[in-house]
């Protein structure tokens, strides 16, 4: 049976704050371990691959690092309709997420009806390491709670 909800953590877990998407996605999965209709995917690149990762799910939650000039640790929430790209949702080798979704629909793929994005403002993206900046690490529990809340709101449970 197709799992209903997918959580996609984007970014490179070895590149300091770029790894925050993976950290959050794993934490959400840990909070909801008893759920059987939940999948977690860690993804490095966006564009077409991000769209493909959502195929067959009814709902998708994407979490990624971000660089918008806001203070590190700021959590942004985006709706796909007003979508501004986060750090890894665009692929410089193919296209942006919105274009990828249009392509997917042209190809007849079943894409989720409900999609939400979270972007966590990072500080360090050019240093290899598995440690998040303090402000970014501090933002993780809040983002996890928001995403768990969203799943609950969508499914009317949790």
């Amino acid at each position: 049976m197709t799992k209903a909800t997918v959580i996609i953590g984007m970014g490179n877990p070895l590149l300091s704050d770029d790894g925050v998407g993976s950290v959050v996605a794993r934490a959400v999965a840990q909070r909801l371990t008893r759920r059987t209709n939940l999948s977690v995917i860690e993804l490095h690149t966006g564009g077409i691959r991000l769209m493909e990762a959502m195929v067959g799910f009814q709902r998708a939650l994407v979490v990624d690092a971000m660089v918008s000039g806001a203070p590190p640790g700021t959590v942004h929430r985006f709706d796909p309709r007003s979508f501004v790209t986060t750090k890894n949702t665009f692929s410089s080798h193919d296209t942006d997420f919105a274009t990828a979704c249009t392509l997917g629909r042209m190809a007849g793929l079943a894409l989720p009806e409900q999609v939400a994005f979270w972007g966590i403002e990072g500080r360090e993206f050019e240093l290899f390491g598995e440690r998040l900046s303090d402000e970014v690490a501090a933002a993780v529990p809040g983002c996890v709670a928001l995403m768990v809340g969203q799943i609950g709101a969508w499914e009317g449970m949790v």
């Binding site: 877990p13 691959r49 042209m106």
Partner: protein, 497 residues
């Protein structure tokens, strides 16, 4: 000319950047191509066990984890003195062909193709993969997605994980495949061949049969006579997974043929004060600046370069396409099987499609070998054969990829060095941008169509900035700035905008 100042903001924003400086007459004085450098990779690896490298390095880049995974695994084969079994080599190469098919397909339809299929002067909003679908027909959307899906499926079961493969181990491959999986690979390869042939026919129909595009591709706008590099097998024919590194000079003479482990005797790196990049060049020719010709050590490592160094291709359909490419450019034969190199850089798009066909046919060859379902996928390393240093190399889609590790006697890393595919091409990319800009921008601030033609010089290399690219919301990872003789900004545009 205005003095060049490298704005520290470049580093903070972290996206690739091209600066073009104009003189007082509005002609191009100079141009600079920049991408940020990531820090601390070597320190990150030091003190770890060498066998972690195939899963660490496949995280360097989300676009070609398969290339890093295999280069790292091959470096470990050498480091542990464990020659992989024949079955292991074949399984690795199958995974790699599936990856090449996916990568080359995506580049052609999403990035390189739109300039020709939709048109170089089309508005940026239409010059993308959706424009290609509108032009070619809606079925192509499904075909592209299906091609990616079937090959990603092979990569997932063969690599042991869906995105970042984990099956590479020193001396072999940790995944054994079943008879059913072999059939699935064979079926995938056949579909890939059909799709590659269709893509080549599309290129011929929409690009080469269009006089305007043919003229653009064969003009001297995107022409550089550099050395070419690629990996060749025992028959001196292109192979993406394994072989010797061959370099041919701009006229087509063999300049060097060496095992990847000897790369340091052949490749040196030039440091320029204005850039974080290191520019590799042929040590035995020497650095003469950003210039082409037989006296300049600048070399190119791209799909076109790989064909330039190869004595034809080992599979029949790709061989026929290879001949068509060189005949079409009027190249004479320099050996019984090889033509004089093509230096028109836009032909790289054509070469990439020929490689797509070769990878598909090679995948079929490997899939038809019944031995691949054998469980003999591993040579267990022996203490007595431990070397403590290893160099591994593959042809990444964007150029020759080399990993080099040293360890102490326990196998703990003490040195890590890499030359990634795109790095080989830093000097050629810079030169191509400059040449196109010089030829096209002759009287001040250019319009978008002109700038797109400058960008095409960059895009044909498909440089991999993704592992080194960060950008602000809404911004593309490449900014092109045009400045006047006083350094004032005349125009700035983002990639695909």
């Amino acid at each position: 000319m205005a003095r060049i100042i490298i704005d520290p903001i470049t580093r903070l924003e972290g996206h690739g950047r091209i600066d073009i400086f104009l003189d007082e007459q509005g002609k191009v004085e100079n141009s600079y191509f920049q991408i940020p450098e990531l820090r601390g990779f070597e320190q990150f690896c030091m003190g770890r066990m060498a066998e972690e490298m195939p899963v660490i390095t496949n995280r360097i880049c989300g676009v070609c984890p398969e290339a890093h995974h295999l280069a790292a695994t091959k470096a470990l084969d050498a480091l542990f003195g464990a020659e992989p079994t024949a079955v292991a080599k074949k399984l690795r190469e199958i995974l790699y062909m599936a990856f090449f098919v996916t990568d080359h397909t995506t580049h052609f339809y999403a990035l390189g193709g739109p300039d020709f299929i939709v048109g170089p002067d089309a508005p940026a909003s239409e010059r993308n993969i959706l424009g290609v679908v509108r032009k070619v027909g809606v079925e192509i959307a499904g075909d592209i997605i299906a091609c990616r899906k079937r090959n990603q499926g092979i990569i997932a079961f063969l690599g042991g994980k869906s995105v970042h493969p984990v099956a590479g181990v020193p001396g072999g491959w940790s995944r054994v495949i079943t008879a059913e999986e072999r059939v699935q690979i064979e079926d995938t390869a056949r579909k890939n061949i059909d799709f590659a042939r269709f893509s080549l026919s599309l290129f011929e129909k929409l690009v080469m049969n269009n006089p305007l595009y043919r003229e653009l591709i064969t003009s001297d706008l995107y022409l550089h006579r550099t050395y070419s590099m690629g990996t060749v097998d025992g028959a001196t024919q292109a192979n993406f997974y394994d072989g010797m590194i061959r370099v041919v000079d701009p006229e087509g003479g063999e300049f060097a043929l060496y095992p990847p482990a000897e790369y340091r005797e052949h490749i040196a790196e030039r440091v320029e004060a204005w850039s974080y990049l290191k520019y590799p060049y042929l040590k035995k020719v020497g650095w003469r600046g950003f210039t082409d010709g037989i006296d300049s050590g600048v070399y190119c490592a791209t799909p076109l370069s790989r064909l330039n160094v190869s004595e034809g291709l080992a599979t029949p359909l790709a061989q026929a396409e290879y001949e068509r490419l060189y005949e079409s450019f009027g190249c004479r034969k320099v050996t019984a099987h090889r033509y004089a190199p093509i230096h028109h850089r836009l032909a790289t798009h054509w070469a990439r499609l020929i490689e797509l066909l070769y990878a598909s046919e090679r995948m079929l060859e490997l899939a038809q070998d019944r031995e691949i379902t054998s469980p003999e996928t591993r040579t267990i390393p022996e203490r007595a054969l431990f070397v403590g240093e290893g160099i591994g190399s593959v042809e990444a889609p964007r150029g020759t990829l080399t990993h080099h590790y040293k360890t102490d006697e326990r196998g703990v890393l003490t040195m890590v060095n890499m030359i990634v595919g795109t790095t080989n091409n830093y000097a050629p990319i810079s030169m191509s941008i400059k040449r196109a800009a010089e030829k096209l921008i002759t009287c001040g601030a250019p319009d978008e169509a002109i700038l797109n033609r400058v960008e095409m010089a960059f895009r044909l290399y498909d440089p991999c900035l993704s592992c080194a690219t960060h950008f602000l919301p809404g911004k593309m990872p490449l900014t092109v700035s045009i400045r006047d003789s006083q350094g004032a900004l005349l125009r700035e545009m983002g990639r695909n905008r």
